[in-house]
Symmetry: C2
Subunit: 393 residues, 2 copies
Amino acid sequence: MKSVSEALQLVRKHIVMGTGVNELSLNEAKGGVLAEDIYAPMDLPAFDQSNVDGYALGEPGETKSWQLKGEVKAGDAPHFELEQGMACRIFTGAVVPKGSMAVVMQEEVKREGSRIMLERFPEAGEHIRPRGTQIQQGQLALPRGKQLNPAAIGFLSMFGIEKVKLRVPPKVSILINGDELRRAGETLKPGEVYESNGNMLVAALRQEGVEQIELKTVSDDLERLTESCREALAASDFLIVSGGISVGTYDLVAEALQKAGVEQIFHTVAQRPGKPLYFGRSNNCSVFALPGNPSSSLVCYYLYVLPGIRFFRGEGFRELPVFRGKLSHELIKKGKFRHFLRGYYENGLLRTKEEQASFQLKPFASGNCLLILPEGDQRLNQGDEVAFYWLPE
Amino acid sequence: MKSVSEALQLVRKHIVMGTGVNELSLNEAKGGVLAEDIYAPMDLPAFDQSNVDGYALGEPGETKSWQLKGEVKAGDAPHFELEQGMACRIFTGAVVPKGSMAVVMQEEVKREGSRIMLERFPEAGEHIRPRGTQIQQGQLALPRGKQLNPAAIGFLSMFGIEKVKLRVPPKVSILINGDELRRAGETLKPGEVYESNGNMLVAALRQEGVEQIELKTVSDDLERLTESCREALAASDFLIVSGGISVGTYDLVAEALQKAGVEQIFHTVAQRPGKPLYFGRSNNCSVFALPGNPSSSLVCYYLYVLPGIRFFRGEGFRELPVFRGKLSHELIKKGKFRHFLRGYYENGLLRTKEEQASFQLKPFASGNCLLILPEGDQRLNQGDEVAFYWLPE
């Protein structure tokens, strides 16, 4: 049995990195991961630019006033230079004419006919954004491996970039194992339950931009299970098996994976929920077998599979972000395992529900975080700080 | 000029709530917001269920051993009851036969032929999940207004639910204002720049599940701008105008909105970036005019428009989550405005870049959070705690 840290290190070490690259239009690229370093194709700003609405000033003349000469608004190319003692009206984003020593805000100027007087003499370069101050042509704009958030989409748009090369997300096969499982719409016989992990894992994978997902249910039959594993291994970058990975007589997944040629890296982790977790690898396919209990399954997905998918896409083994909050109630934790409690965070306060059994999805469904309770006994009081993983929404 | 708190209160008060409802298949419902309370259509678990692989025990007989009689695996309907002194093999998730007083784990049992002996006498009900312990038929499973995360999808799948009624996200029109703006692919003349706010806002809106987006560029012409506003108001639930909302001669948006019949609720907020922000309303359309500087535009989107969209969808005015981190460097903040600095959070530490000018998108593109620096002067040291908004990924 591995500790959580050991298990994470082993996944990080053995997970497969993808190689596929796809060129996409920038307005379809949100959430994608850059497959290339992007260097600035031009300076930003591309010209000395006014920061405010006001007046561009030439070098001061002999008096303290400036003679007005034309105006430049955003988008204009000024066809004049500002000589000594001359000024022009200018607007935010407009080209600062040659010869300007500064721009002053309109609120600070007294205008009399075609002359302006200043209350305060500006510093050289004031309210001018010099060409290239955001970035210079040829400098690295965004590095490969960067996931494109809306600001990054905006930033690349400023260069007029139309297409970007993105890493292709993995193809994922999900095998759901269990004779007792029925699909929605079917009638349950006594003892049967509706399959829920498939839809749940598909939803979680889509949040990570994974779209190529094969979902299949397989009965508790070693031969069929082995064959399904073989097919999935050949067709996928990730194989996720749900259920059948405990130690019961009908838990055939570990054996089937072995027969299908998967090298086991570890099986069982000192954690609750999710102890039966299995991780292995076969050629270029990363294999996770998750416990069948819904909460266990989803906890293992968030902790191990999700950073694995990000690694595959070239982002590095990026885990969920960890924050800290104050407990809104006392909490007693016992045992040598690391616990992950489904909880709810808001405005600095953390609370968990009592129903933390691994078959319970309700607290997970109405929660937004996973409290991290380290190995060993702990008695936590109301107001104590606890670290937690923040779940993707 | 409003304070940030006042501005948020006014948006919360005047923002329009949507009414549209759409029925979707559960496996397409991720991220959607429930339009109905969902009551459990059945008990979960639907039967007394074994929690482990082991043995179900009838009431103890005269000896300390139990006579074995059959087995129940997950999915089986046991056709027998356990009489006094009888036990059966049972597996996780299986129906516990009538007459069982507890289930014991296989590790705690010594088996001799068809009899089993116990090391420890179990408590009544041990390792049995009684029917209805997760939820009972008719209890509220998930309330209207709940956004469906993967766990919620899994939870509803456990009931065999196939379709859910979801709130329809708003139709959004984006009007980009500015004569200096060119589309990607066009050649820039001197003084012109590539339009970037449109793509950026579309990407941000899609993260919130908004798909019906009209993006249009309008020149700095009062008549055309007014006409475009009128059309957008009639066709949309939200109108977002980008640029032209400052106080310059060519900032015509406030006037155009007034001519188009929008009631101004506020214009300008004591914040940096984003001071020129305008909010108004016309019949059933909520109107935000965002400053043209890219960072200002996106900050205003995250602070005001995003919770407005969530409100429209019936989630309530849900703002971005606020966490706290320790500054990795000192920070001096001056002035009466509230500041939002583009920053990067990792492992408890916060850092910001120096280039925080509102025309700079690079620190936003490579950041993941917005530091919140309250109104007034502040001198923060390395290690001081600062609150921040965590940005959607």
